[in-house]
Symmetry: D2
Amino acid sequence: FDGESSQAFKVHKGMGLINHVFNADSLKKLYVSNLGIGHTRYSTSGISELQNCQPFVVETLHGKIAVAHNGELTNAVRLRRKLMRHGVGLSTSSDSELITQLLAFTPPLENDDTADWVARIKNLMNETPTSYSLLIMHKDIIYAVRDPYGNRPLCIGRLIPVGDMNGKGKDNSETEGWVVSSESCSFLSIGAEYYREVLPGEIVKISRYDVQTLDVVPRPEGDPSAFCIFEYVYFARPDSIFEGQMVYSVRRRCGQQLAIEAPVEADLVSTVPESATPAALGYAQKCGLPYVEVLCKNRYVGRTFIQPNMRLRQLGVAKKFGVLSDNFKGKRVVIIDDSIVRGNTISPIIKLLRESGAKEVHIRVASPPIRFPCYMGINIPTKEELIANRPEFHDLANYIGADSVVYLSVEGLVSSVQESIKARQENENSLKTQKSRVGKIGHCTACLTGEYPVELEW
Amino acid sequence: FDGESSQAFKVHKGMGLINHVFNADSLKKLYVSNLGIGHTRYSTSGISELQNCQPFVVETLHGKIAVAHNGELTNAVRLRRKLMRHGVGLSTSSDSELITQLLAFTPPLENDDTADWVARIKNLMNETPTSYSLLIMHKDIIYAVRDPYGNRPLCIGRLIPVGDMNGKGKDNSETEGWVVSSESCSFLSIGAEYYREVLPGEIVKISRYDVQTLDVVPRPEGDPSAFCIFEYVYFARPDSIFEGQMVYSVRRRCGQQLAIEAPVEADLVSTVPESATPAALGYAQKCGLPYVEVLCKNRYVGRTFIQPNMRLRQLGVAKKFGVLSDNFKGKRVVIIDDSIVRGNTISPIIKLLRESGAKEVHIRVASPPIRFPCYMGINIPTKEELIANRPEFHDLANYIGADSVVYLSVEGLVSSVQESIKARQENENSLKTQKSRVGKIGHCTACLTGEYPVELEW
Amino acid sequence: FDGESSQAFKVHKGMGLINHVFNADSLKKLYVSNLGIGHTRYSTSGISELQNCQPFVVETLHGKIAVAHNGELTNAVRLRRKLMRHGVGLSTSSDSELITQLLAFTPPLENDDTADWVARIKNLMNETPTSYSLLIMHKDIIYAVRDPYGNRPLCIGRLIPVGDMNGKGKDNSETEGWVVSSESCSFLSIGAEYYREVLPGEIVKISRYDVQTLDVVPRPEGDPSAFCIFEYVYFARPDSIFEGQMVYSVRRRCGQQLAIEAPVEADLVSTVPESATPAALGYAQKCGLPYVEVLCKNRYVGRTFIQPNMRLRQLGVAKKFGVLSDNFKGKRVVIIDDSIVRGNTISPIIKLLRESGAKEVHIRVASPPIRFPCYMGINIPTKEELIANRPEFHDLANYIGADSVVYLSVEGLVSSVQESIKARQENENSLKTQKSRVGKIGHCTACLTGEYPVELEW
Amino acid sequence: FDGESSQAFKVHKGMGLINHVFNADSLKKLYVSNLGIGHTRYSTSGISELQNCQPFVVETLHGKIAVAHNGELTNAVRLRRKLMRHGVGLSTSSDSELITQLLAFTPPLENDDTADWVARIKNLMNETPTSYSLLIMHKDIIYAVRDPYGNRPLCIGRLIPVGDMNGKGKDNSETEGWVVSSESCSFLSIGAEYYREVLPGEIVKISRYDVQTLDVVPRPEGDPSAFCIFEYVYFARPDSIFEGQMVYSVRRRCGQQLAIEAPVEADLVSTVPESATPAALGYAQKCGLPYVEVLCKNRYVGRTFIQPNMRLRQLGVAKKFGVLSDNFKGKRVVIIDDSIVRGNTISPIIKLLRESGAKEVHIRVASPPIRFPCYMGINIPTKEELIANRPEFHDLANYIGADSVVYLSVEGLVSSVQESIKARQENENSLKTQKSRVGKIGHCTACLTGEYPVELEW
């Protein structure tokens, strides 16, 4: 029990944008130190309140730990009752508090004079299969943990001296420290370079200069891994790297695949700025049609306080975009969208394009329709809100006012995602590298197919 | 386990002034309901952070409880280790979390199908002697608990129909509900009238229309009660009632007692606005000297951003007060102060009065010097900062620039406080009323004498 | 034309409390300099908008001037038309802009190579008789001007070295600079001492070390001066000095006079905290009754966001005050108030005192009833809102629930104000001092009597 | 003089973003009315202070006027002295106040019983040649005025019923009102359609339903018009229309022209998101090279409070962009930029691309180098800051780290801008339409060539 060093944790939390929560004042109050955990979360399980904000910090008999959790436990209700039955009062509705108390609680404690945190982490992983990527800070160590299914992303970056940020590779330059993040895109902006992913089930111990695999907890025999396919489709920034491939490249392949599955006779290919641009460029190139901009973003759009009357409600879309009508007047337009979830944003855009002179408007969606809820950390509208579950879906083109609308198939998406992974894995297998420990590759497509990677407990 | 009703707790916390934390928005979000706990605390044990804000709300196997705590546990360190040894991760440094987890934890829980909250509260009271006044909310019941020594105040008010707010007494008017507070002065402003104190050791169960004593946990044989005497001297609002007497009356008696102990030949009696006015009026009346105002408050004083230079540092007092020099020019002035803690505020006031024409300035302090730290909830400067522990104290008049300075004696203070309590108690004893359960009356004078009501644990 | 030095004016304005408008940031942006004008005004003529905020700064052919104005011009409408007829576009509704443009405009300008600011100021004073106290800043000079009737206050203070702030008198200590203010009470808090008033009609030129009378513009033959009597009654801080006397002393004399005019058989004298305390002490002393506190202020009252229902509207007063009921239970109470304007604040206080046990409640008001509007800078409720103009006034005691209510007479007020002025003036006249230039002493009692010091123009 | 209706102007101003200045509160306070002027200005002449904010509102003998001004007067100093010589005190340093006072002042006023606002506007236009686009509001009329050189843009839009927003053209649908703006791109978002430009020198009178040309003030014989060419290059939103053409189309033509003037052997064409995209697509199409994205925007970048150390200063660019390295690794890249002003933003981008694997990086700039200050309303860095005036410019490719860098020629820019205007004008001239009143078409290229459209006065 080292009260003093454990007291050294300094916590700052807040709700809202990072730049508001972490301003000059609050940053000054945080210690200048070598070690830290940050967390942003759009709370999925648990109410959106400050108390649910991470990291969770608790003092245990063996010092303070701070825990940051990305994901959502599929057996949270059972774990909750188990802890309360042992007499632990739970102060939040967050499943991340369960993880923290399970780490503090793990018996037997009476004879436990030296804290074995790896044993505690493995016990935790035996209690709950998915989904969680965790950072656990204790004294001068951070443990980075990914659940055995690898449902949520987690990767490691290497801080390198500024002078050496020249892509010479890790062998040539000194390491200044390590960073861990859900998305690799964050590394560049803090002067780090992508090092590697934490593997499904892996427990990594990170200290000032060292990254060390402590263990890899396996999945049940035969279960494939289950990384969330929606990270590729929608959530991740295009420059992020998952499973060895750039998200942008996957999205462009989705566009190419879509061109194969659903070609259309048209004059130009475009997109709604700006997330579907890679798919649109892929589609255009595969079809041999020109890629043309039809809308420009209104950069300074913000909250509007003007009284909402009939006129202005209809103008919602026109507030967000400018129309480059000269670019498509009298032409047949294919619009590539990354996903149609509720169906109420694409409809006024189609109307706007037609009013500005488009001759035909065809919609191609670079992902399959979402039909099922996610219980593993992604906030998806209710089943009733999803357009794919509603009667209008049977005549969707008519409902949204398009000349035609086609979604990418599940198979098309999965193959676009797995194509280069499998190629590389075959290659690696032939080399019998350590990476083969990942086991059978799969992806969680639960929101598209209803097939969840583990049984859900209630 | 009644998940639904326990979910009905709605919590809003914040740091800062009540009017900032509870604004129109936050109040709207709180349920319109019949039951609630509020809490403001200048944190004494535990860091001043949002997480330490009360009430503490935890979910237990038998539903949610919310706990508000006024006071400070004298054996917090031992309780802390005990809980952690049982595997409870503690998320704050607050002793109020210990109380909450002890209520959730109390064994045996395995066979505990029906929660016996009174037994849990009594167990808690056996674990820790003082100091705590507690409100514990569970479903539609609030338990009001005061520690056996009665160190912190707690009293009950009765909401009465507005039309009946005419002092006719409780028998004649309908009761609309109950309120519990540390200070009775808060009742008037919400339309309630003072009903009675919670007695030392008493566990009171409060529901919509009913107030019921469940038990009175006794002190160890022979120990007197130990209500904080500093509430009378300094903290409480003058219109508050403790132990059956108005604080204002106690302060006036202190002034009268001070006139007996330390008379002075002078022309007028005055005070530093505005907390010592009752003592000053009592002193003036007892001495037969006129009560005259010498300073007026500068109502709009606030933070000043002007660069602090030599001139302005010396002007600090002049910023807070205006001088009514015509009222005392050429006169001998007695200034009554309620306490001199550090000695650095009275000194520039004396200087200001002299510069404005006072012939003599005598200081009379209506309480004894503070010499010892408080470990029961009051935030007192460190021993080194207390003027009474410093060498200057031996020639205090000279140090602060007064012609003379005399403090009230501890005996004088205690007798001013206990005079009417004892008179009433004798009267009540002769009537053999229920109130005799209070036991031997005493007061905590630890900060003045170093005699703490219980042994301190570290 | 000295563009460079005139550019050196640095202006910062804002609406709201001084501490919000002048924060660390805005003060840093103001030049560190030897010369400045500040202004706070509760706008009476002209809408309450930032543009109307003073000082008004304009560039003229002879450099920039900044003008701060306290008062309200009685012939603003005529001056407004006159300026617009000359082709000046007026950007605010404030009469202070008229003063500024009249100073810029004064013809003949074509041949005016050297700016004669004193001539311009005298021209301005010939255009408008009252009411204005002005500070006019040009380059390194400030002109302090008071209208010939002296309706608004203006006085000069002397900054003295801190070490010398010991009341030795102005001859013994060095002068560090000069300050000008409406109220002398502000001097103490910035380390200055009261020097003298600006006389009615006086034009004073103030530079770094020098204060010099340039001229005294006389009133029409026979007109007495007309300083606002309401400054004594209500507006000024009690430690301010006007016409050689402390406001506190005038108020105490009003209380004494009220005791002579309207005695009452009672047990104690008290007041509503805190503005009427001097009058209450004067009344109590004259009557030989004890002065006792019956209410204490609730220090932290602020905006309340609680939904206003029947109960809470009735509790308004109870939110502002605590009741010291033990001090007056069963007693006959005289409450001294400084003024009753609308009559809706004293009424619930009387009710509260009765409900808390007062046997009788008598109200004595230390000023006469207000019946007429002010057109010279004081914001007074409309004639219809003034209780003295409403039918309820005929049975006021009954209307507000008091046992009796009596106002001070106009003659009583005037004599309380002028008593010591006249005594001193006789003394000075016999010494033939310079002060005799003030002429016949009078006071503006327009709001009480309807007799305005000058004819009003529309 | 109609005081009442002129009082109906309601003004709200503030500094900062529109959404902060015009929030729900401030909008509620503005009258619901049929007429209004809004203005946003990045102040170029006159200090950036609230007082300089537009519209300027003044009361004149003939009622209130409100004036909004876009532009900067080339003879402001002379006009300033002229007004002050007439006795007008000027309260701001803004040239827009000069315009307002000149409109109020215009003699002869003594006999001027009916205000002839058109005469006043024409007088103003005779006093100052350029640059100004004005909106002048008086009672229920708005006058829209553009200076004879047409230096600043101004155009009129037509509010049409929502149901009719279908591009059927103005003849078929009812007009609901008129709007005037600098840029037509704002029309769509408020439900208006582009109607026409205000011509150089034109005075347009706009009432509820009517748009009427009152006069067109001519330029001196032989002077061509001088619309700011930088609006095309940089300032305007791409969907805006000037002189009958969409800005996006001009920018794409600039890219095409650049491909003709400065081709390069490369593998792909890209851009720095996102203003140069039209030029990049034009360049790519003309060259026959693929258009590929190399950077993605970091959407949530904001102020960063992290202590600026060596590492982080070098990371500035990496904070704004993500690198899509897989898209260009080992390739020769052409980056199209819209302008290089100071040269310090492109340099780290080139470094970033090289470090991420680009084989060659060629820069092509779709506008000529800026070399001269603008005195007509555009805020341009000082001559010393402009890269084109510094020695490094002689070896610019080396300085910024590019393999090559070429700017578009002035002739290339002018022809890209004028190509379709001239084609249309020839066509119109042959039809002898009213539009021929515009006279000889030219553009202000002063910042590129130093040739100002009028002589500059000091």
